[in-house]
Structure formats: C-alpha cells, structure tokens
Symmetry: C2
Subunit: 201 residues, 2 copies
C-alpha cells in the first residue's frame, strides 16, 4: 500500500504510537530524588509547562505562545532515532545535525504530508533559533537542565567536572530571549558552582 | 516573609521546581518495551502532543488549541499530592475530588495569585468537561491509556481483568468531543479485547 493511501487519522495514530519511544530516551539529568535518569518525554513536558508559566518573562512581549509550546513538545522527537546528545560532548555534537535531520525525515514523515512539513519547519526553526518564538523556546530548553542539576544536587552531572565558565558560555544565548531569565539562570549557575556541581577552574 | 513579598519570578520557579515530582508519580500504563510504569509527566507530554496532532479531528472546529494544551499540561499536577487514581478503582475514586482540590490549592498556590486563579479555573474546567476545549482535552486523556494498553500488549492492565463493556462505558464520553476519534477508540478496544487485554464477559 502506498503511504498516501493510508487515511490521515491512521497516519497520525502511527506517529503518536511511534513517539511512545521518547519515554525511553534517557538524558544526563536525574529525576528529583535521583531514582533514575530523566527521559526526553518528561523533559519535553517540563519545558512546555515552563513556557506557559514563564511566558510573561520573555523579552519580546508579542510572542505566539502556541508556537513556542508546539516547538517544545516536538523538539526532542528526533532523539528516538538520533539519541540524546549531551551538550558538553563535543565529539558527539559533530554529526548531531545530520543524524537529527535523518530522524526528522523518518519520524515526522509518518504524518500526513502537510502536517509533516509544518512539524519539520517548526523543528528547524527551533534548532536555528531564527525567530523570537524559537529563541524563547530554546532559552527554556537551555535553562531546564541548570534548574534540574540544582534541584537534584547535580547527581547526574558532578562526575563530568564541567567548568562553570563553560556552562555560562553554552547558555549565554538565553539572554537574547529574556535578560531577566538569564540573570536568574546565571545566579543558579553561581550557586550550583558553590555547591560543587560545576568546577570554578 | 509573607508569600506576597516573594517576587513573581521566584514563585514561578518554586512551582516549576515542585512539579519535578510529577516525574515520579507512576500510573498503571507501561512504557513501550514494558521496562517500567509510565509516569504522569510523560503521559502529560503525550496527551498535549495528541492535541497538536489530532486537533483537526475535534467535533468542534472552533476550538482554542492553546487552552486545550494548557489543560493537558497541567491536568495531572494535583497527583503530586493526591496520587494517580486508577479509573477502574471505584473505592479510590470516592474521595478523589476532595484530595485533588486540596492538592490544587497547595500546588497552584505556589504561583502568583492571578496565575494560580487561572490555572485552578482551567483545571476545574477540564475536570468538569464544561466547555468544548475541556471535552476535547478529556477525550484525548481518555484515549491515551487505551492506545497505550494496545501498543504495550496490556502488560500493565491484563491482571485487572477489566470487562470491555466497562471500558466502553467509562470512555463513551469521547464521542461528545469527536465522533471520529470515538469510532477509532472503540475499534482499538475491540481489537484489544480480541488479544485478551480486556475480558469479553
């Protein structure tokens, strides 16, 4: 059967069943209580909720919040095929984009063509941080691990001995989306460094 | 310090840190591959994504999708205090609403007052299914376990020996939000019963 012969609802359901797998893609973050690593599905929920709650702190007050939340709900789906790439793993980041583009083609390709195109475009917009919505979504995605490390006492991250200066360098783009949230994040990084979660070399 | 003296951003961050705990509230559903029970945070992500993908199948074409998604992102937060109540556990459902109202007061009460009121009102609207948005959100929340049982071969649910007629009775409200999605769900229930996930007594 040609893919185009499958009814749209059936294609959407195949996609929604396939993305179950995001619940078993594990990240470096730990869940609170440190009982296990955080997975990318619950992380996606957390950052989408952050957008809802923190929307008023965006530097640009005219943001389309539905677009921000859509980006955050879909931003990690490519990890089902491409895996989670740790921000501080330079080697793994070399071919990250290529692996993720292939994953986006397969996974969003399960959807009806028009919806596939919309999703792929939004995912690329998020990755490129090319609009105010994408920059705000990316800022929240960048903040969440910092908050998570702090509230789980860095169980997942201490072992990497990441210099605080490197965290700041990697996260500084948050300021483009919200100077206020960047000040808050910088303060958490400082307090985390005092607790030994990052190094101050 | 009076709660009202805490800056709004700090209150929002306290809320966003507290809701980390939803990642450790476990449901009867299993994750794909059945490696562990599904938690309410990743479930919330999945139903919010369903709203994005299936929005066009709602019976009411004028739905405000941002409201639907907001409801789905927050609908289970009360479980942090009140626990997940299994739909088919009649005893546990007797005082569910009372436990959840207390939980909503404490958890949403971490937010600035205006945002707390908005969230509590949306949560109650979802629970009461009193608007087209709430009915569609509730329909997706009702569909997701049926799809999950089917794609995880019922590992979490077979042991309860739930009659298919009871599943249909509990889920029939989906038809109010979308006749098309209800037909699809009924078909999955039928196929699940054939596989022995529910009983046909």
């Amino acid at each position: 059967m040609e893919t185009n012969d499958i009814p749209d609802l059936e294609r959407r359901m195949q996609f929604l069943t396939e993305v179950e797998k995001l619940k078993t893609v594990y990240r470096q973050n730990m869940t609170v209580g440190s009982e296990r690593h955080e997975n990318s599905a619950e992380h996606s929920w957390h950052v989408a909720l952050m957008a809802l709650v923190l929307g008023g702190h965006a530097g640009d007050s005219g943001l389309d919040l539905l677009t921000v939340i859509t980006m955050l709900l879909i931003h990690d789906i490519v990890e089902i095929d491409a895996g989670d790439t740790f921000l501080y793993d330079d080697e793994a980041n070399v071919d990250r984009n290529e692996r993720e583009e292939r994953a986006a083609a397969r996974l969003f390709g399960l959807l009806p063509d028009e919806q596939r195109d919309t999703m792929v475009a939004l995912w690329r917009e998020f990755e490129a941080r090319s609009t105010p919505e994408a920059r705000f979504a990316a800022a929240l995605d960048g903040m969440q691990p910092v908050l998570n490390h702090y509230c789980t006492d860095g169980t997942g991250v201490r072992k990497y001995r990441i210099p605080a200066a490197r965290v700041i360098e990697k996260k500084r783009y948050i300021a483009d989306a919200s100077p206020e949230l960047w000040r808050y994040t910088e303060d958490i990084i400082r307090r985390s460094t005092e607790k030994g979660l990052y190094t101050d070399e």
